[in-house]
Structures are given as C-alpha cells and as structure tokens.
Amino acid sequence: MIAPEPRLPRDDEPSVMSMEERSSWILLVFTVATSVGYLAVLAPQLASRPADEVGWVTPMIWAVCISVVGVVVSSIVAGIGTAVVLTLRGRKFDAELQSDSRDRDIENHARLRAYWLLMMVLLLVFVLLLSGAAHVWIATAFYVGLSMHTIVEQVMRIRAYRRGFVS
C-alpha cells in the first residue's frame, strides 16, 4: 500500500493571484477608463463643430499620461499591498508571487491571439490616411483601435488564468 503524500498545513489554501494577472486587471481597467474618457470628451465636440477645429491633442495626451502613470502607480501599490498582506498571514510572498512558465505561456497565448487586431488597426489607419480623412478621425481611430487591442489581449490573459487555455 502506498502511503498518502504528507499534507502541509497550508496546502488547501487557495493560491494567490499572480502579479501578472493582477497587472492584467490593472491595465484593463485603466485602458477602458481612459479610452471611454477620451471619447466622452471628444464626442460632443465632434458632433457640434467641423472636424478640423476639434482639439483632440490635449485630451489624448491626458488620456495617455493618466493611463501610464495610473498603471505604474497601481502596479506598485498592488505589489506592495499583496506582499504586506501575505507577510501578515505568515506566508512567503517572494516565493508565491514569482512568475513561472505558466505566466509566460499565458502572455504568449494572449499576445499571439490578439495580434490580428493590431494588424487590422494598422490597415484601417492606412486606409484613413490614403483617403485623406481629417487628422482627428485618424488619431481617434488609431487610439481607440490600440485600446481595443490592449483590452482584447488583457481579457484573453485573464480568461486563460481563470478558465485555462490550450497553447
């Protein structure tokens, strides 16, 4: 008879969300929020005056800056917070939060599957450039397209973390 494997005290506890999944959530939230914010600022202007007079540069700079700074700051705060909570519960955060080959596989899985959208965005921008559309439309299509790409990629990553995936 084979003896059952020894069970350690914490074996049945759920494993911690990995740093990659956490940063994926952060990126998703900020990308959705900033692109919706950008569109909310721009839509009334686009509706009310000619396209050439719409000031889209300042809203876009704000959206990009808020998104970058927000993602960096929240990732740092989330990392420190998780480490503190794990330490308070008496667990070793450096071992539990280290990224492993599953994290890398999931990243590649999502990147390869979202790649076509990036190519579609580039193609759309080319068509808009060739047809001589107003810059505000090209830039908005570009920005929203890139945001969609990021959102799809993060959703695929989170999905792979929660439901599994075939690489």
Partner: protein, 142 residues
C-alpha cells in the same frame, strides 16, 4: 522546410519586391513630373502594394495550408521561434505607431505620416522575418 519557414521566406521576398517597387514608382514619378516628393500621387501605388502584397501573401499561406491539410502545421519549435521573432519586430512597430500619432498631433503633412508608418512597420516585419529565418537555420538562444 516547415510550413512556417517556407511562408516566412516567401513573405520576405514578396515584401522586398513590393517595398522596392513602391519606392521606384514614387521616385520616378517625382523625377519625371519634377514635383516635390510630397505632391506626387503616392496614394494609388501604396494602396496597390498593400492590397497586392497582402493578397499574394494570403494566397501563399492558403496554398500551403491546402497542400498540408492532413498534417500538423506547427510544432513546439515553430511556436518557440514565432515568439522569439515577434519580439524582434515589436520595437519598430511600436515606434511606428507612436511616431505616427505624434506627427498627427503636430499636423504634419499626411504624406510624411503615411510614409513613416509604412517604412517603420515594414522594417519591423522585415527584422521579424529575418530573425525567424535565422532561428530556423541556427537555432534559438533562449
């Protein structure tokens, strides 16, 4: 030669031919009409290159796929090389996107925006194709 190695090699040749043909047409138009670069009718040639090049590459992919339809197309090595090569081109494509957005914000002439985007994105896929072929020949250092 594996499915993906063959596709990459043909795609590299197609890309080189298309890129050179495009610039030959635009430069000869600028020279023969004695126009400044930005006023040449470049839209037509670029559209033709993008559509013809894209559909030729799709056709190559499709014929390969039909010929090997009962076989496995990608193995672990193909995936590994694909991952490795994609990072090689990603920097250039990202730079293309950023540069195009900044040029749009500064209201630069559409000619320059389109050409910076076209050339940098092309260089990105060129380096990714080159890295892919080199990896098939010499292996991946990971």
């Amino acid at each position: 030669m594996s499915f993906s190695e063959r596709n990459t090699a043909i795609g590299l040749v197609l890309g080189l031919v298309g890129f050179i043909a495009y610039w030959v047409v635009v430069i000869s138009r600028a020279a023969s009409d004695e126009l400044p670069f930005t006023q040449v009718a470049w839209q037509g040639p670029m559209l033709v290159v993008l559509i013809v090049g894209g559909s030729a590459y799709a056709l190559v992919w499709l014929t390969g796929w039909v010929r090997h339809r009962r076989e496995r197309l990608f193995d672990e090595r193909d995936h590994e090389i694909q991952r490795y090569a994609e990072t090689a081109g990603a920097g250039s494509t990202g730079a293309a996107v950023l540069a195009a957005l900044i040029m749009l914000a500064l209201d630069v002439d559409t000619f320059w925006v389109a050409h910076v985007l076209f050339t940098l994105a092309y260089l990105g896929s060129l380096s990714s194709a080159g890295v892919t072929l080199a990896a098939y020949r010499e292996g991946v250092q990971s």
